[in-house]
Symmetry: C2
Subunit: 351 residues, 2 copies
Amino acid sequence: KTNFKIAVLSGDGIGPEVVAESIKILDAIAEAFHYQFEFKYGLVGAEAIFKTGNPLPDETLEICKESDALLFGAIGDPSFDNNPDAKVRPEQGLLKLRKELGLFANIRPLKTYNSLIEKSPLKKEIIEGTDIQIFRELVSGIYFGEKFTDEEAGYAYDICKYNREEIAPIVHMAFQEAQKRRKKLTLIDKANVLDTSRLWRKVCKEIAAEYPDVELDFMFVDNAAMQLILNPKQFDVIVTENMFGDIISDEASVIGGSIGLLPSASIGHENAMFEPIHGSYPQAKGKGIANPIASILSTAMMLDYLKLDHAAEKLRASVEYAIENKYVTVDLNSEQPYSTSEVGSFIADYI
Amino acid sequence: KTNFKIAVLSGDGIGPEVVAESIKILDAIAEAFHYQFEFKYGLVGAEAIFKTGNPLPDETLEICKESDALLFGAIGDPSFDNNPDAKVRPEQGLLKLRKELGLFANIRPLKTYNSLIEKSPLKKEIIEGTDIQIFRELVSGIYFGEKFTDEEAGYAYDICKYNREEIAPIVHMAFQEAQKRRKKLTLIDKANVLDTSRLWRKVCKEIAAEYPDVELDFMFVDNAAMQLILNPKQFDVIVTENMFGDIISDEASVIGGSIGLLPSASIGHENAMFEPIHGSYPQAKGKGIANPIASILSTAMMLDYLKLDHAAEKLRASVEYAIENKYVTVDLNSEQPYSTSEVGSFIADYI
Ligand SMILES: CC(C)[C@H](C(=O)O)[C@@H](O)C(=O)O
Ligand SMILES: CC(C)[C@H](C(=O)O)[C@@H](O)C(=O)O
C-alpha cells in the first residue's frame, strides 16, 4: 500500500502551527518515497465549540473513522480553563474521540538527547541515558466509569472499573515492546489499596507466562512518582491504568527537559492517532516560536504504524540531525533560535 | 496541662530505632520544661501480624484512643511485599488506624535546608528556597469507598466518593495554614474529568469567601506532577484528596533530597498521630544507620499540636543546629557519619 488517508485535527493554540510542519514533512516523504498522503481536515476542541457548539462534530468523527491514521494537534483554550463551570468543554472532544475510536493504548516514549541534557530540571548524572516507554490504558477506568453528583445532598462519586478484556490488550502490547527493548516491564498500580489494581496485577502475571524472556515487576504509584525522579534509568517499559498513566506520564515528560520534543501515539484495533504531548500552549499561538519536533516525531510514530519503516527511519535521522546541529526553536536554543516553520523546512529539506 | 499520655506504635523495620530517639528527646524535654510524658506501647503492622495475626490489635487501638497523641514509626515488611496475595497485610493496620481515629488531615511540610541542597535530584536553582505544606485528605475517597471483585467474570471496581462534610474540614485547615504563611492555597484535582473533583472545587470556592486574604487557585493533578519538578517554589499550601495526595506528597518528598528529614502529622477531631514519612526501610534495620530526624521533627509537630510551643521551638532549633554542624547520619554525611542514637543523643543534650 502506498496511498494513505490521513485525518488532520489541528485543534487549538499552537496545534495548527505544529501540525502544518508535520504535513510539510509528509509531503517531502511522499515525494522521496513515492507515497501518496491524502489529507482531510476536521474541527476539534475549543475551535470546534466556537464554530459548531460541539467539541467533536459528527463530521470530524466520520473523517477519523475513514482514515488510515489521524494527526492531532492540541486542544484547550484559556476561556474554558478560567471557567470550570462551562458545560461544554474542549476536553470532552478528546475523551469522546478516544472512546469512539477505541484508542485503548496511549504510548509515550521518553528519550533523552545528549545535546539537550542540560535542559533537564534533574541533575545530569540522574537523567543521562534515560529511555522509557510508557503504555497508558486510555478508554476505561475512572475516566469512563459511572459518575454522579447530588447537588442538594452535596455528594459525588466516580467509579473506577476494569475488566480483564480492557486490561489484556495493552498488557500484551507492552510485553511485546519490552521484548524488543531491554526486556523489563513495570506495572504501576496501587494494589495495596485498590481492587482494580489487584486485577491488573493478576492479569499481568497470567500474561507474563507468554513472555518468559521479559522480567515483570510491580511498583506502587506513589513510589513510582518518587523513583522517576530519583532513578529514572531503572525503567524500561511501563504499563499502567488510565488515571495513574495520566499523572506518571506527565511527570515523566518533564524530567528530560524537552517536552517540546515528545511524541505520543494512541492506538486502537482499527484506528490510531498521533499527537505531540505538549498542550495547546495558547501564549505562544501565532508567534512562530512553537517547537514542531514533538508533532514531527509523532508523525514518525505514524509512519511506524503504517509500516513505512524506511520513511520513519529517515525522518528520525533528520530530526536528530537538526537537534545535534542546534537547528531548533527558542525553547532549546535561545542564542540563535529558528522559527517553527524554519525548523520544519530544514527537516523536510534534509529528507 | 503538663501531663500527657503518649501512645507509641513503633511498627516495623527501622521504626523502633527512630522512635526510640523521639522518646529520648521527649525525656529531655520533660526534664527541661517540667512536663510529664507517659508512654504506652502498642503493636502494629507486620510485627503485630507475626505476634497476634492482626495488623491492628484491639488493645493497640484502645491505647491510641486514650492517648493525647500518638507517635508512629513505620510499617511494612519484605515478606508481605513479595507476596501480593497475602490476605492479611501490614498496610491494613495503618488504614484502619486512620479510619478508626478519624485522622482526616495528613499534613506534610516540605522544607529545604541550604546545607543539604546538593542532595536534591533537582538542580540547585530549581529547588532552593522551596517551602511547601501539603494537606492530604486521609479517611475518604477511593481508599475507603466500596470495592468489589468478581473473580469469575474477571472484573473489579473501586468507588471514589466524597461528600461536603468530608471535604470542608481539611479545606478550612489548609486555608488557616495559608493565612499564617504566604497566603496562597492550591487545590490539586482532576476537575476536567471527575465529579468528585468538581465537588472539591465547589466546596473550596465557597469556603474561600471566609478567607479573603488567601489566594485560591486550582491545578490539574497531571500538571501538578510536572510543576512540582519544574518550579516547586510556586507552591505555598496544597490541599488535595486522598489518592492524589498519596502520589503528589511522595513526589514532593524526594525533590528536597532529604526524605530522612521529613515529618508528617495526621490530625483528627479527637486524635492525632505523628510519623516520619520515610517507610520501614528494612535493609537498614538494626544497623544503627537510620536517620532519626524525620521522627524527631514529627515529635516537634506533636509538641505544636499539644500547644507546647516553647518546647517545639527549642527542639526545631536543636535539630537545625545538628544539621548545620553535620552531626547527622550517613545519608546526609558520608564522610563522617554518626549513628542513629548518636544523632538523637546530640539533639537531646542540646535541649
Ligand atoms: C485533557 C485531559 C482530559 C487529558 C487526560 O487527562 O487524559 C490530558 O491530560 C491527557 O493526558 O491527554
Ligand atoms: C501504605 C499505604 C496504604 C499508604 C497510603 O497509600 O496511604 C502509604 O503510601 C502512605 O502514604 O502513608
